[in-house]
């Protein structure tokens, strides 16, 4: 194998089948997505209604919401017991969040300033590390494959989708659980305040979403597949404008009939956005709404990422 040129002719194509998904938005459901699968999610405080009572102590809101989204995407019944047995080394986790533990680090330092570090619970220790969402999902559901926490800013959600597809293509995993989440606490909202999205009038949208991705192969007709793209899918392969855009619609695009962006979601998903939009697109396509949708996330500071979600078995658009 040594000394060969850098290409993998046998690598599977850069697409993945979306075999499960969920959207778990906290708060009122925006009218613009009312026709899609249930997107309303419980609050972090009520996570026990989905996850059961045990194991949630000292879990941050972002971790709880992410666990809820994964639980739902896996179609597990409410309060189903946590899986036990050995970890599954072929299932990977890629999480995306920028603000998950910002409240924790600020509150830990407020306690130190007021009294001392001795008054901080050691049970909160995992939360000092920004990868707590990804590792908690692995621990909860026993996923022993590669475990990545991406915090790339506004592009992070589609970075996570791209990273997940890479893990499938390089045979590091057979299944990847992608989860995006942002909390809605006061610190997170304040830190989000300087983003271009907030400046445009879109405050932080609390919530999570999950995608279960498996290798492209030949999925059953009607199954959504996701494909990261290096550049904006301004048109479909046939040259037509996209019928639906999930995410901020770049200004040079012809306005498609259906747009679900921060305006329609009444807020900015930030690190969760790319995952939320991909899951919403999968939901629309699976319901027969259209055969292809463009997904975007990003901003003028962090850059932009693009993907296409299409239905397997339809013309390649």
């Amino acid at each position: 194998m040594r000394g060969e040129p850098a290409s993998v002719p046998s690598a599977p194509p850069a697409v993945a089948t979306v075999t499960g998904w969920s959207v778990h938005l906290v708060g009122p459901v925006p009218e613009a997505v009312g026709d899609l699968e249930p997107v309303a999610g419980c609050t972090a405080d009520d996570a026990r209604e989905i996850l059961g009572r045990k194991g949630l102590l000292y879990k941050e809101a972002a971790t709880r919401l992410a666990l809820c989204a994964v639980h739902r995407a896996l179609d597990r019944p409410p309060r189903a017991p946590r899986p036990d047995g050995p970890p599954d080394p072929r299932t990977a986790v890629v999480a995306s969040s920028n603000l998950g533990n910002t409240a924790t680090v600020r509150s830990v330092m407020a306690t130190v300033a007021a009294t001392s570090g001795r008054d901080v619970s050691p049970l909160a220790a995992p939360n000092a590390s920004s990868n707590v969402v990804a590792s908690s999902v692995a621990l909860w559901f026993r996923f022993g494959g590669p475990n990545l926490m991406l915090c790339s800013g506004a592009v992070s959600g589609l970075d996570a989708v791209a990273a997940a597809i890479r893990l499938l293509r390089t045979d590091r995993a057979d299944r990847v659980v992608v989860v995006g989440v942002e909390p809605g606490d006061e610190v997170a909202r304040a830190v989000h305040h300087s983003t271009p999205a907030a400046a445009a009038g879109f405050p932080l949208r609390e919530g999570a979403a999950c995608l279960i991705l498996e290798r492209g192969g030949s999925p059953a007709a009607g199954t959504p597949v996701v494909e990261p793209l290096a550049t904006a899918p301004v048109t479909t392969a046939e040259g037509a404008p996209p019928v639906a855009v999930f995410g901020p619609c770049p200004p040079d695009w012809p306005l498609p009939p259906r747009v679900v962006g921060p305006k329609e979601l009444e807020g900015d998903g930030y690190g969760a956005a790319g995952v939320v939009y991909t899951a919403l697109a999968a939901s629309l396509l699976a319901g027969g709404g259209t055969a292809s949708a463009a997904v975007t996330c990003g901003d003028d500071v962090d850059g932009w990422r693009f993907a296409r979600v299409r239905v397997a078995g339809e013309a390649h658009v």
Binding site: G3, V105, M109, S116, A128, N147, L150, R166
Partner: protein
Amino acid sequence: MTALLAGSAVVTCLGTGAETFDALLDGRSGLGPLRRTDAERLSVSRGYHIADDDSCFRAGAWLTQCVRQALDEAEITPQTHRIAAVIGTGLRELRTLERWEEPPADFPTHLLHFGSAARAAEPALTEVVTVSNACSAGGHALAMAQDMLDLGEADAVVVGATDEMSGSMLTMIGRVAEEPTEAVRPFDADRGGVLLGEGAAAVVLVAEGATERPLARVLATGVSCDAHHETAPSTEGLGRAVTDALRRGDRTGRDVDLVVAHGTGTALNDPAEARVLLENVVGDGPGPLVTALKGAIGHTSGASALHNLDVAIRALRHGRVPPVVGLRHPLPEGEGLRFAVDSTPTAPMRLAQIDAFGFGGVNTVTLLEAV
């Protein structure tokens, strides 16, 4: 597929990569008093600091410096290469966020991650991914970068890593230590826990044949997650990262000549890592030399994997292995391991293993071969 390292740049409490390696060979340590006014309330009194000013966003500044230096050494430019960047970090710029006045509404959100710091070194990067994978973030970034090259997504990938010690992580270290740790003693029977270091590193990874002056060849990085415990390591999970690296790199444990270990000096990591090395790497022969850096430069969190990598590059090139600073009496679980105790020249070495294990059970093992 294997890849080549075309450039490597480092900053630690002991200086640049060359300065750090020289200090390590001399057995020197960068340990000093913790430079914080609240050290007593954190129950942490010592640390391995970089002696610069106490400004904000230091992690980003170190990263910019390392990315620029690594690209210069590699002589890779965006005119001829599509250059992507993957940046590993444990603690992002949380130290600066901790210091920001209440409420942090004017905190520059985009500086919490490292897109801007990487682009300050090279504006034409095609993308910058920040991977926040605790103490093995640099190893995960390396694995992602090699996959990106394999799949033809980039012609060169800058793999960066950076961390400044955060108050909240110091708090947790102080909170779980029975008494304040005086120094990091990797693999010592009397080890007293971990202390933080800080710094950054960057390497440039390119495909085979894409550089005329490679520093070393990366065979593979194995990746696993324990899914076992939030903070305690699992030998089963660590072992999976080792076997994944060996399988991907098409080598056996017997081929490994040098291990640059994770070696945090904690009660749990070092015996677990020793057992995994004995089970997976040490054969019938004398086994590889084992060294560890954290007694000299502290635990540099997300940057530690790339700090280990730079030392491995230099050890393979110069045929010298730095001793484990802080190690006096090896732990009983390490019996059978050959720890580096001085820096005398070694027999020729070809293959190095670099360990990085993080909070949450996220593990990487990289195999590096001499060129």
